[in-house]
Symmetry: none
Subunit: 359 residues, 2 copies
């Protein structure tokens, strides 16, 4: 599998799980630079606060779970680099680094969650070596938990799939967005691992093209049969009987199951219903926001029109023309066949069943 | 208005209507190079078969009615250029040119219709000068008829509009797709001319972005309030109550009213139905192909995957990844509120009413 986020030791060992061994040597945060995909696969190694801040800000690493993992491992790298043997100095360094990284993407909930875990972990440790150890262990545990979450979603989701099925997905909720198998793509990876022949259609997902740049790339790298289509070809592909199931990720899910995800998801859900194709959302339980009764309460971020006008490298609309560029939309629960979580698949009635499974 | 297709005399006179005067001098087919919009407004002048073939193939000129006009005027230009004084030679040149141009785009029925008119016009003419004249006159009549057709569609369509309404359109069935006001955009131009305040949402229409590059450009040039959105934002814009009506063009309409149009149209029709928004097709009667019982018989042109991978100027999908790139889709008649033609608006039951209005 890809290693979108990992720890690399000074000996070049790629690590995603904490062991006593790696504790004896230096190391850095290692990321795939996703801004260069699909043209180049370049890994960057980072151990300086501002460089890590910049990597998150510039979307070198993206996808809410991946950002959380990267920030946590990043703090461990910055502290490990320090020559200080004073636990108080190192603790302070961990805290200021975490606070700085928290400013990189102000809306990413997983980022704050991961950085809080890091800050909590170092409180009260008075030994510098132990502090370095604890930090690395905590960071790699966050990564490890994320990997376990992906695999669990994959296992539950794979039960929905049969040999020779074709899945359509939108945007990128794959390995590149998480520590490992992704959310929406994890069922595909797990089913493929189990010997099933699963094909994928990947909507290119304008304006930032995460579907064609990232999803198509990572599935292709993994040897999964993937076909990219423009967003406006989804209906035709469905009409031709080429899609058995839709699986997408989510950015936020309300208490009634309404799910916010990348712009275009809502339209795909309507088209799936029209063609009698089951539409699934795959997301960890940390995506649920039970304080929101319905999707109507989820604010829709509006982004700069130049993403549409100039996002592809050349001018694709007149510079002076109005652009409407909502980044997300909300799919109402009645269009959703089920929500695949690491604790199982939630089905209608959603409000009741979400409460049941999430406690 | 714009002159997407015209005749330019050797003296630089732009002509859209045949007169005896222009018959005395040489001339060429003049086209806006639509591949360069919205960055540059460049006109090209052509009088060689392969250059005209290439211009249609490469979408320098596109839009079914404009292609028909361009091909007809193109044949006139090629024949006019020939030094031969032998009517039989010129007639043969007209026929081989027409046959070659007919191979440039497989779906556009107007192309075949216009070229048949051209071939019919030259049959039995034994005088070279008369043949040249007849060809130019026939070609410019096709353009002239097209302009009249656009205006008539606009007048019928404008009756559907009220002040402050917003129309969503897909691709470009505007001035740039025809000789003049367009088909889908003609009601907007006519209503605006009549003093109504009509707003337009223009789907950008991947992969070739005719909606953002062309529709947004020409409406903006004409002073109409236009907003560009990515194709995957249509559902969200409809959900927000921002769209009162959809009007699109058509490339071919079957006897039962099923309408082939630019890829994505079928999806827009489904989304319109879901949101209870009336979906209209605007097209001249030359678009109807009564030899086809239903849309199932309309062949769908498949285009090169590199339009999707590389169409925007930089690589937007891995070079080696599969791409499915159908250029058209077919909207079934049950999703269509009406077909706006130059003879009136046709409504369900379509098969019966199409026969009635088209004879």
């Amino acid at each position: 599998m890809l290693d979108p986020v990992s720890w690399i030791t000074e000996n070049g060992q790629i690590v995603r799980e904490y062991t006593k061994e790696i504790d004896t040597c230096q190391g850095k945060l290692r990321l795939i630079d996703q801004t260069l995909l699909p043209e180049k696969l370049v890994y960057v190694e980072l151990d300086e606060t501002e460089a890590i801040f910049d990597a998150i800000k510039r979307l070198v690493v993206r996808g809410a779970p991946a950002i959380g993992c990267a920030a946590a491992v990043g703090v461990a790298a910055v502290v490990r680099k320090s020559a200080s043997q004073d636990a108080a100095v190192l603790r302070q360094l961990a805290i200021t680094t975490a606070d700085r990284l928290a400013e990189s993407r102000p809306t990413a909930v997983n980022l704050f969650w991961a950085l809080k875990k890091i800050k909590d972990a170092v409180s009260g440790i008075d030994n510098a070596a132990e502090l370095r150890s604890t930090l690395l262990q905590t960071a790699l545990n966050i990564l490890d938990e994320d990997i376990a979450m992906c695999r669990a979603i994959g296992s539950f989701g794979a039960e929905l799939l049969k040999d020779d099925m074709t899945v359509l997905t939108h945007c990128n909720a794959g390995a590149l967005a998480t520590g490992d198998y992704g959310t929406a793509l994890s069922p595909v990876y797990v089913a493929s691992e189990n010997g099933m022949n699963i094909k994928v259609y990947s909507d290119e997902t304008r304006p930032l093209l995460q579907g064609s740049r990232l999803t198509a790339w990572e599935l292709n790298e993994a040897g999964v049969d993937v076909t990219t289509i423009c967003d406006n070809m989804t209906a035709q592909v469905m009409k031709e009987g080429k899609v058995d199931m839709v699986i997408v990720g989510a950015d936020r899910i309300a208490a009634n199951g309404d799910a916010a995800n990348k712009i275009g998801t809502y339209g795909v859900a309507i088209l799936a219903e029209y063609h009698n194709i089951p539409f699934y959302v795959a997301a960890p339980y940390s995506t649920f926001d039970l304080s929101l009764e319905s999707g109507d309460e989820i604010p829709i971020e509006q982004r700069d029109g130049d993403e549409v006008r100039k996002g592809c490298g050349k001018l694709t609309a007149p510079e002076e023309v109005n652009v409407y560029n909502p980044a997300f939309d909300v799919t109402p629960n009645e269009l959703i066949a089920g929500i695949i979580t690491e604790k199982g698949i939630i089905r209608a009635p959603f409000e009741e069943n979400i409460k049941k499974i999430l406690g």
